[in-house]
Every structure is written in C-alpha cells, then in structure tokens.
C-alpha cells in the first residue's frame, strides 16, 4: 500500500513539475499535461497513427528478437572459455559506449532505406548488452555446479537444461531488459534520421512543423510503453531470482 501511495505521489509530482515548466516556458515551447493528453487521444483515434505504431512495432519486435538470439548466442560462445571472455570484454564494452549513430550511414548504405536498416540499427544497440550479460553470467557459474553435474553423470543436454540455464537466467534477463530498451532507442533514432514511417518519423516531422503537442503526445505514448514494459520485465526478473 505504501508503495502504491509513493507511486501516485511520484506521478503527481511529475505532472506538477510538467505543469510548472509549461507555465514557465509558455505554450509554444511545452504543452500542458492536459493538452498533451487531449492531443494523444485525438492521435489515437486516427488510423494513420496506428499505422506508424505498427511500423515501429514491427521493426522493434524484429530488432529485439535478433538482439536476444544473437546476444545470447555470442555471449555463450565467448563465455565458454575464460580466455575468450577476458579478450573480448573490453572490446564489447568499447562497442557498447560508442556513439552508434555515427555508424547509421553505413547501415543505410548496407541495407538501403527501409525497415531492414531500422531493424539492423536497433539490433546493433540491443545485441551488445545482452552478449555482455550472458558472457558474464556463464563465467560466474559456480564450479561446484559443474562438479555436481559430473558426479550425477548428467548428459550434456541435461547439464544445459537443468544446471546451466537456471544458473544464468537471472543475469540474462537483466541483459535482455537493457537490450529491450536500447533496441527501442535504436529503432527510434533510425526513424528520426531517415524514414517516412514510424513514431520516430512522426516526431521529426512534427519538429519540422513546430507542432510541439504532437511531439509531446508521441513521446508520452512511447514513455508509458517503455516504463510499463520495463516494469513487467523487472517483475519477471524478481520471480526468477527467488
């Protein structure tokens, strides 16, 4: 109950701060919470808006799928030996903190303008954290687990399913959560730079028109989705940890 109260307090605080900023900056710079909600309501009744949502959703779903499958695959391969993990970790970290936007033209030249470039760019953002977390999780499995598996004469398949998987799952889920948010960022930036469809395009298009209400409404829509998804993944992580 206390946590629910805190949450309501937090939301109220954000709305008050937003309203205050709106009074400070004026209607041209920042629309009020109420007007943003009205604008979002109007957007949600139009068919074109849902077309953009579907486009972004498709690109995002594909990017997340590639990030998860590729990241877990790469992380597993690199985590199997201590040497390969030590060799690759700084490289992965360097790739993680690189401003990947600079590489977007390269992605566009490889994949052309279209949904595949967005997917590739989203996957570039999400894949690396998943790989790093998976690799670390495999490295940190306690040696006693392997010895127990050997003592029980488990087959490799049994080792993978009953020993390794449960041991790495919590860490991999943390990585997946990060990969999820970063893929979303990647897809949106891709749409903001070069696209004629999707929510990112909707934002840059509104920026060109100076239509601040639409920018805020779309940003609110994406924020609510991102926060809800993050909370759901966090809850999943907590149940696995137990």
């Amino acid at each position: 109950m206390r946590r629910l109260g805190d949450f309501i307090l937090l939301v109220a605080g954000i709305v008050v701060a937003w309203q205050g900023l709106h009074w400070l900056a004026g209607d041209v710079a920042l629309t009020s919470p109420w007007r943003t909600l009205l604008r979002l309501g109007a957007l949600m009744q139009s068919e074109t808006f849902w077309g953009h949502v579907a486009e972004t959703g498709r690109a995002f779903a594909a990017a997340v799928a590639i990030s998860l499958a590729g990241g877990v695959g790469i992380g597993t391969l690199l985590g199997l030996s201590r040497t390969s993990a030590i060799v690759s970790e700084p490289v992965l970290l360097a790739l993680y903190s690189l401003p990947k936007v600079t590489l977007y033209p390269l992605v566009l030249l490889c994949f052309g303008l279209g949904i595949s470039a967005k997917i590739a760019f989203g996957a570039m953002h999400g894949l690396i954290p998943v790989a790093i977390f998976t690799m670390k999780a495999i490295l940190q499995i306690k040696p006693v687990y392997w010895r127990t598996a050997r003592a029980l004469r488990l087959t490799p398949r049994q080792v993978a399913l009953t020993v390794a998987l449960p041991a790495v799952l919590p860490e991999v889920l943390s990585g997946a959560r990060l990969g999820f948010s970063l893929s979303l960022l990647g897809v949106l930036i891709g749409e903001m730079f070069a696209s004629k469809r999707g929510l990112g395009f909707l934002i840059t298009n509104a920026m060109g028109l100076g239509d601040i209400a639409t920018i805020m409404a779309v940003a609110l829509f994406i924020s609510v989705f991102a926060i809800a998804a993050n909370a759901a993944l966090l809850a999943l992580e907590r149940t696995v940890h137990r």
Partner: protein, 249 residues
C-alpha cells in the same frame, strides 16, 4: 601487456586486415564501405587541411561542457536525495526506469525551446547523462563503511572535515564510475543530436556528407569519432578498474 591483451590486439588487427582485404578485393563495393586505410588517409587529410576544425572543436566543447554539467549537478542532486530518505523512496522507481525511456526523443522539444544551437544539444546530453551520476553518487554514499563514520566521530571531526576527509575519498571510486558513464552518455547524446538536427559539429558533418554522397569525408569523420570515443572510454575504464580494485582491498 598480458597474454590476453596481445590476443585482443591480434584479433582486432586481424579483423581490420580482413576488412581491408575484402574492400581492396572488391567484395565490399567502394560505394558501401571504404577500406580502413582509405579512411585513415581521409581523416589525415581532414585534420591537415582543417576544413572541419570548427565542427570538431564545437563537438568536443559540447561534450566537455555537458559532461562537466552532468557530473556537478548529478553529484549535487545525489547528495540532496541521499540526505532525504523520504524523497528518495518516492523517486526510486523513476531512477530505476529512467534509462528504459528513450529520452532522446525529447530533443525536438529542446529544439523548439532553445532553437537549433549548442544550448539544445547540451540540454539533451545533460538529460541523458545526469541520472547515471545521480545513481552512482547514491551508491557511493550508501557504501561508505560505518566504521569510517565512527572513526570520524571518535576524532570529533566537524561536518565539513568529515565530508572532505572521510566521505569524499570513501565514495570516490563510485563517483568516478558515475563520471565515466556520464561522459560516455554525454558523448552519445551530443553526436546523436548533431546528427539528427543541428548546424555544426562532427555528427552534423557526417550527416551532411552522407546526404551529399561524400563517402570519403563521411568515413574519415566516422573514424575520428570511433577513435576518440574508444580512446577516451578505454582510458576512463582503466582508471575505473584500478579504483575498483583499491575498493576491494
């Protein structure tokens, strides 16, 4: 250098050589990717002729300004939040899910507020990086060993003395991690916003070259950004690791 360090160097060198061979052999067409050696030559020419000097200076100035702002403001905010447990409990979910939201999509809002200039870029870069510093400050202050606080009391230190001689050095490794993250995020934020919409900066120059099919300039500048980011982040990471091992001692 360690054995792993040599292997790492060899692997990276082999990958670059492979890319070079693929480009030279025509497997990857020149319209898609320049050979790494060509990128280096292009970067060298750009730096020597100095036609992008203003862009380079403005990008690095913006990165430096926004990381400095994030570190100072983030530290101050962290100290205040740490001192008020009730406030902290309330905004904890905000801090935890902050990086789940693609904050970058608020860049257009800053464009409308500040116009297309450095202020909008610095504002979004600070917004992206400040929370990393706030959370690191909170962790650092949380992890000050109780025994150090007790020692301070035994010595009857004043508040200022305790803060300066006990709290700050004890929290320093965590604060450094925060500063490292803040720098990395500020760098990403500045380059990304220049890339999407601005009139100056390396990110802008890359986008401009892309729109004009000027692959030579584009890849030369791309190499510059990659080299700068990797060098700076790796250097900060090495220092960070040293501080972390000191923490464990």
């Amino acid at each position: 250098m360690t054995r792993e360090g040599w292997i790492r160097l060899a692997v990276v060198a082999a990958l670059v050589a492979l890319l070079e061979a693929l480009c030279r052999g025509g497997v990857i067409p020149r319209t898609v990717l320049l050979a790494p050696s060509d990128m280096a030559v292009s970067l060298w020419q750009i730096l020597r002729e100095g036609q992008h000097n203003t862009d380079i200076v403005s990008t690095f100035r913006n990165v430096a300004l926004s990381s400095a702002l994030s570190v100072t403001l983030g530290f101050a905010l962290g100290v205040v939040i740490h001192a008020l447990p009730r406030l902290r409990a309330t905004i904890e979910p905000l801090l935890a899910s902050y990086y789940a939201v693609p904050t970058f999509m608020f860049y257009p809002v800053f464009i409308v507020v500040f116009g297309v200039n450095a202020a909008a870029i610095i504002a979004i870069a600070v917004l992206l990086s400040i929370v990393a510093m706030v959370t690191s400050t909170l962790t650092g202050l949380d992890r000050i060993p109780a025994v150090l606080r007790k020692t301070a009391r035994v010595y009857r230190m004043s508040f200022a003395k305790r803060a300066l001689l006990i709290d700050l050095p004890a929290a320093a490794p965590h604060l450094f991690t925060g500063a490292k993250l803040a720098f990395a995020y500020a760098f990403i934020g500045v380059i990304a916003s220049e890339f999407i919409l601005s009139g100056q900066g390396v990110g802008y120059a890359i986008a401009y070259a892309y729109n004009n099919f000027d692959n030579r300039t584009m890849y030369g500048l791309m190499l510059l950004v990659i080299l700068a980011a990797v060098t700076a982040n790796t250097a900060l990471d090495v220092i960070d690791r040293r501080l972390q091992t000191r923490l464990r001692r």
